[in-house]
Amino acid sequence: MLVTSSRFKERAREKLADPNLQHALRKLQGNFVRGRAERIRELDNFEDIRAAAAAIRDRALADLDLYLERFEREATARGTVVHWAETRDEVSRIVCDIARAHNVRKAVKSKSMVSEECALNEALAAAGIEAIETDLGEYILQLAHEPPSHIVAPVVHKSRDEVSDLFEQKHRRPRKSGIAELCREAREVLRPHFLTADMGISGANFIVAETGSTLIVTNEGNGRMATTLPRVHVAITGIEKVVPTLEDVATLLRLLPRSATGQSITNYVSITTGVKGREDLDGPEHFHVILVDAGRTRLLGSGMQEMLRCIRCGACMNHCPVYQSVGGHAYGWVYPGPMGSVLTPVYAGLENALDLPHASTLCNQCGVVCPVKIPLPDLMRKLREEQFARRLRPWRERLALAAWRYAAERPALYALLERVGVRFLARLGGKKRRIRRLPFGAGWTAGRDLPAPQGATFKELYWRRR
C-alpha cells in the first residue's frame, strides 16, 4: 500500500470537518471502549494475565530465530510448505508463484493486514488472478476501492446508506436498507465464490512453534471457509507472530478479543496444521505459510523491539483521543492510531511519516490499555528524538530547540529570560488573564486560549515562600 502519511495534517483537517465520520467515531468509542471495560471486569486476574501475555511475547522475541525454526520444522513435517519473505514485494511474488503452480484462477481472502502492507490484491490482479475479499468490511472496501480505516473494524468510516448505495450499484439487486439484509446479500453473493475458489488466502493472528500451526480469530466464518474449502491455502503473517505453545495461545486469547471488540472470545478460533489427511472429507490439499520480515528484524535488538509484541487488537486506537478525532485514513498507511504512529515510520520510513510520532498527546491511554504492555508513548518519543537527530525536523523547530538549549545550559540567563517572558505573557493576558493569540505560537492558540501566567516565575515564588 502506498504511504501517504506525509499528508497527515491536511487529511486530519478534512476528517475533523466530516460529520458522518465524526458520528461513526463517537459510536466506536461507545461500543469498543465500553465493551472492553466490561469484558475485562469479568477477569479477576486481568493484570496477571496481561503481565503473562507481555512475557510470552518477549520470550518469543528473545529467541525468535529458534522459535521460527521450530515452527518451520513442525509445519514441514505435516506437509506445510514454509516460505520466508524478506520484502513486501517478495510476498506478492511468492503468492503469485504458488497460484501459478497450482493453476489458480480465483482466490478468496480472509482479512490480512500484512497482505495490505504488500498490496497483494494489485499483484494478484496483475497476474490475472481474481482475488475476492470476504470479510464483510474488507469486501465493502474492495467494492469501493478504499483502504481500511481501522485494523479490526475496517469500514468504520462508512454509513449503512453508503453501503446500501454501493451494493445496489455493484450487485445490481434491489436496494436494501437494513443492516441484516445487507449482510444477507453479501453472504449470498460471496458464498458461490467460496465454493468455486481454487485458493484461500488468510493472515495469522499467531503461529504456534510447538505444533507448526497457524491460528486466526474471526467472527464471520469467512476465515473458516477460506481455510477449509479451496484446494490451496496460503497463510501470510509477520515473523513476530510466533508463540511457543498452545498454553501461551490460551493466555493471549483471553486478552485479544476482549481488547479488540469487547468479546470474551471471538466466534471462531481456527487452528490449522498441515494438509488434508488421506481419508479426510474436506480441507486443503496444499498449505503454504509465508513468514514475512518486511522491516521486522530491524526492530530486534533496537530501542523499538517492544513494538513487535503487538497482537493487533486495535485497543490503542479505540482509546486514542487523536484517532477518535480524525479516524484511520488520516494516518495514510495500513496501520492507524498509536500503533500505526510507531509502525508506519519504522516500516515505511521515518522521513515518509514525519507527523505521525507527533499525532499523539502522549496521554498514555494507549499504553494503559495495551494488552501486551507496549509503552507506545515512549516509542513515539524515541521516534521524535530520532527525527531530531537525523535533522528531519523543520529548521525553525531545530533553531528554537537550539536556542532553548543555549539558555537552559546557562541558569542565570535562563532565569532572566524566564522573568522577562513571564511578565510579558502576564501583560499580554490582560484582565481576563487569557492569551488569545500567542506570538510565534499562533497555531497553538488557533483552537483555544492560553491561560496567562500569574506574573512571577516558579523560582521567584519558591524563594519568596521559603
Binding site: 468490511g137 449503512r160 458464498r191 505444533t211 474436506d282
Partner: protein, 190 residues
Amino acid sequence: MEGHIAARAPGPLPRVGDDPAAHFRERALALASTVDEVGSLEYVPRAVSAYLNRHSLPLAAVCWPQFAALDWNAHGVRSEARAATATDLVGITGAFCAIAETGTLVLVSGPRTPATVSLLPETHIAVVHVSRIVRNMEAAWALLRTEHSGGCPRAVTLVSGPSRTADVEQTVTLGAHGPYRVHIILIWRA
C-alpha cells in the same frame, strides 16, 4: 526454547465455578447459542426434531457418521452422514470437547468429523456429552494431546455461538458467512 515448549506451563487462569456444566451453559447462552439437555444419546433425534419444528426449519440434516445409526426416521428427520454441501440447511456434529470458561465448542477435523458440517449449513446442532465439558482452553489442549498423540489435527476449530458481524455501523448481526443458529444438545449420561 525447547525446555519452555516441553514444560507447556499454563498462564494465570480465571476462576470457573464449581460446576463447569452450569458455567458452560451460562456462557454459551450469553454468546447467543441455545442449549437443550437430554438424558442419553437415544433421545437426540427427538430433541433435534422438536428444535427444527420449533424454528420452522426443514427436517433434513447432514450429520457426522457417529450419529448415522440413531433412529431419525421415528422422529421424521431425514439425516445423511457425509461432508456438507452448499445446499444443506442443517448440520449435526458432535464435539471433541467443550470449554466452560467461554461457552465454546471444540471441533476437530478428521475422516469422521468433516469440518464443513458445522460451517456451511445455516443451522448447526452440536451434541456434547457433559463429561466432555472442561474448565478452560488449557484443559482442552491437554485432552487433545492425550487423545491425538500424532500431533495437532488438521483443523481445530473453537466455535462460540452463531457467526456474526458488526462491520456495518458496529451493529451486531447474527449469521454472517457461517451458521445463523448454534444449538447445543447436552447429554447427561454417557
